[in-house]
C-alpha cells in the first residue's frame, strides 16, 4: 500500500536520512523504532509531506507523493498524528476536530464523524467547548488521534503517541491503536516504547543514523541481538 524507496532528507548541510526504504501492506501495523534523533520523525514527516524530500520516492497505491503538499496527501487518505500532538491549544476541542475533518474527502460527513468521535471518546464530547490546551496529556493524545480520524484516513501515521504518558495511559493508547487497525485502517507507528510496540506490530523497522539497519517481522526483531543491545539495554 505504502512504499518508500531510497528516501534522502537534509536540513541545510545536515543529512538526516540516507536512503530509507519502507513497505507497508494494507491492514498492517508497522512499527518503526530507533534512538532519539535517529530519523524516525523525519521519516514520518517526509511521508506526510511536511518535510521537503531531497531524493527518493514515496508511493501510495502506486501514486507518487514525494512532491505533493501535505494537503494533497491528506486528501489521499494518508494522515499523520504528529509527535508532540500539535493540537491547537486555544481552540475548543470541537474546533480541533472540525479542522481535522476539513479535508474534501471527509467534509460531507463532518457532522457524522464529529458525533462518532464524541461517542468513541466520551471525554471529548463532554468537554467539547473547552480549550484543547486544558486537557491532560492522555486526553490530548486522544484528541490528536481523533482529529486525525476525522479525515477518514486509510493509513494513519502515529509518531510517538505514548510519549510522556503514564504506563496505564500508554496501555490505553496501544489498545486504541489496535482498535483503529481493526477498523481497517493501516497503521505506521513510531515508538520508543520498543517492548510494547513490538507486541502489537506485525512488522518492524529499526532506524539508526538515518538508515534502516534492521527490518522484519515483529517477533523476529524482538529476538534480534542488536536490537536488544542497542535499545533494550542488554549487553
Amino acid at each position: 500500500m505504502l512504499s518508500v524507496r531510497d528516501l534522502n532528507v537534509a536540513y541545510g548541510d545536515f543529512i538526516a536520512l540516507h536512503g530509507v526504504s519502507l513497505d507497508v501492506d494494507e491492514g498492517e501495523i508497522v512499527v518503526i523504532v530507533g534512538a532519539n534523533g535517529a530519523g524516525k520523525t523525519t521519516t514520518m514527516n517526509s511521508i506526510a509531506g511536511i518535510l521537503h524530500v531531497r531524493s527518493g520516492e514515496i508511493l501510495l497505491d502506486g501514486e507518487h507523493l514525494e512532491r505533493k503538499s501535505p494537503r494533497e496527501i491528506v486528501e489521499r487518505g494518508l494522515v499523520l498524528v504528529p509527535e508532540g500532538r500539535h493540537l491547537f491549544p486555544e481552540m475548543t476541542i470541537q474546533e480541533n476536530l472540525l479542522v481535522g475533518g476539513q479535508a474534501a474527502r471527509s467534509r460531507r460527513n463532518l457532522r457524522v464523524n464529529l458525533a462518532a468521535m464524541e461517542e468513541r471518546f466520551p471525554i471529548l464530547g463532554q468537554r467539547r467547548s473547552q480549550a484543547a490546551g486544558t486537557l491532560s496529556g492522555g486526553e490530548q493524545q486522544m484528541l490528536a488521534i481523533a482529529r486525525a480520524l476525522m479525515s477518514e484516513p486509510r493509513i494513519l501515521l502515529m509518531d510517538e503517541p505514548s510519549i510522556g504518558l503514564s504506563p496505564l495511559l500508554t496501555a490505553r493508547i496501544f489498545a486504541m491503536v489496535q482498535e483503529i487497525n481493526a477498523m481497517g485502517i493501516t497503521v505506521v507507528l513510531v515508538e520508543q516504547n520498543v517492548v510494547q510496540s513490538l507486541e502489537l506490530a506485525t512488522r518492524a523497522y529499526v532506524i539508526a543514523e538515518g538508515r534502516v539497519v534492521l527490518q522484519g517481522g515483529a517477533a523476529e526483531i524482538r529476538g534480534h541481538a542488536d536490537v536488544k543491545r542497542a535499545y533494550l539495554g542488554e549487553a
Binding site: G12, A48, G49, I50, S69, P70, R71, I73, V74, E75, V79, L80, V81, P82, G84, R85, H86, L87, F88, P89, E90, M91, E95, N96, L98, V99, G100, Q102, A103, R147, A148, S151
Partner: protein, 291 residues
C-alpha cells in the same frame, strides 16, 4: 465642568481608539499566522487613507464606496506581496525573523515612495461628516463616531469569520500550531497568503476610517505602525480581545496627554507607552496571557 471635560476627553479617546484597534487587528492577524512583524503596515493604512482622500476630492466618492474598494485592492496587493516576496524569504540569513524585518522595512519605504509618487506629499483629509452631535455637555464628532462604529462592525465580522468559518478555523489553527495544521491537511501556504491579504485589507479599511479623523501624508505611516504596535504591545500579541483594550488605552493616552500636557507629548505618547510596555514585559508580550 471638570467632569464634563473628562467625559469629553474620554469620548474622544475611545472613539479614536476604535480605529487604532482595527489597524492593530490587521497587524495581529498577520503576526499570528506568519510570525512576521510587518513594518509596512502603516503604509497600507496610509495608502488607503490617501486613496479615499483623492477619490473624495475628485468625485466626492464617499466612505461606503471607497472602503470596500480599498479593501479589495489591498487584499490583492497583500496576496501579491506575500506570493512574490515574503514567501521567498531566504532561510540562510541570521534568522527568519531578521530577514522578514529587513524585508518589511524595505517594503515600508518602497510604499512611502510609491504613495509620494501617486498622491504627492500633501497632507490630506476627507471633509465628510464634519459635524458633531451634542449630547448633554458632550459633543460627539460625527466622523469619529462613524469611524468607531464602522471599525466595530468590521472587527465583529472578522471575529465571526475567525470563529465560524472553515477558513477562520484554518487561520487560527495555523497561527496556533503550524505543524498541527499541516498534519490536518490545512493548505498552510494558502492560509498564509489569505491572512496577509486579509491583514492588509483590514489595514486599508482602517485607513479609510482614519482619514475621517486625521490629517495624513505619505510620511506618517511609521507613526501608524508604531501606534498599532503600541496597541498590540499593551494588549498582547496574538490576543484579539486584548487588542481592543490596548487601543482604548492608546486612544485615551493620546487624548488626555494632548489636553493635560502638550500636543508634542500626545504625539510621543504611543511610542513612550510602547517602549515602556516593552521594557516592563520584554518577553511577556509574546505571551497570550493577560487581558
Amino acid at each position: 465642568m471638570h467632569a464634563a471635560l473628562i467625559g469629553q476627553l474620554t469620548i474622544d479617546g475611545l472613539l479614536v481608539g476604535g480605529v487604532y484597534a482595527l489597524s492593530a487587528l490587521g497587524l495581529n492577524v498577520i503576526f499570528g499566522v506568519m510570525r512576521i512583524v510587518n513594518l509596512a503596515h502603516g503604509e497600507f493604512v496610509i495608502g488607503a487613507a490617501l486613496l479615499s482622500a483623492v477619490l473624495f476630492e475628485r468625485w466626492h466618492a464617499n466612505l461606503f464606496v471607497v472602503l470596500p474598494l480599498a479593501f479589495v485592492l489591498a487584499f490583492g496587493l497583500g496576496a501579491l506581496i506575500q506570493r512574490a516576496f515574503l514567501r521567498r524569504l531566504p532561510e540562510d540569513l541570521a534568522s527568519a525573523e531578521a530577514t522578514s524585518l529587513l524585508m518589511t522595512f524595505g517594503l515600508s519605504y518602497f510604499f512611502v515612495g510609491a504613495w509620494l509618487t501617486f498622491f504627492s506629499g500633501n497632507f490630506r483629509s476627507v471633509p465628510y461628516l464634519t459635524g458633531a452631535w451634542t449630547l448633554g455637555p458632550f459633543s460627539i464628532a460625527q466622523a469619529r463616531l462613524a469611524a468607531f462604529v464602522a471599525s466595530g462592525i468590521i472587527a465583529v465580522l472578522l471575529a465571526l469569520l475567525l470563529r465560524y468559518t472553515a477558513l477562520g478555523r484554518s487561520i487560527r489553527a495555523t497561527s496556533q500550531n503550524v505543524q498541527g495544521a499541516l498534519a490536518c491537511g490545512v493548505d498552510v501556504e494558502r492560509v498564509r497568503t489569505l491572512s496577509f491579504a486579509l491583514g492588509t485589507a483590514i489595514a486599508a479599511a482602517s485607513g479609510c476610517l482614519l482619514i475621517l479623523i486625521f490629517t495624513v501624508n505619505p510620511e506618517t505611516g511609521a507613526n501608524v505602525t508604531l501606534a498599532s504596535f503600541a496597541v498590540i504591545a499593551l494588549g498582547g500579541l496574538g490576543n484579539y480581545a486584548g487588542t481592543l483594550v490596548g487601543a482604548a488605552v492608546i486612544g485615551l493616552a493620546v487624548s488626555f496627554t494632548g489636553y493635560f500636557a502638550t500636543a508634542q507629548v500626545a504625539q510621543a505618547a504611543p511610542y513612550v507607552l510602547f517602549i515602556l510596555v516593552l521594557l516592563l514585559r520584554p518577553a511577556g508580550i509574546l505571551g497570550k496571557s493577560g487581558a
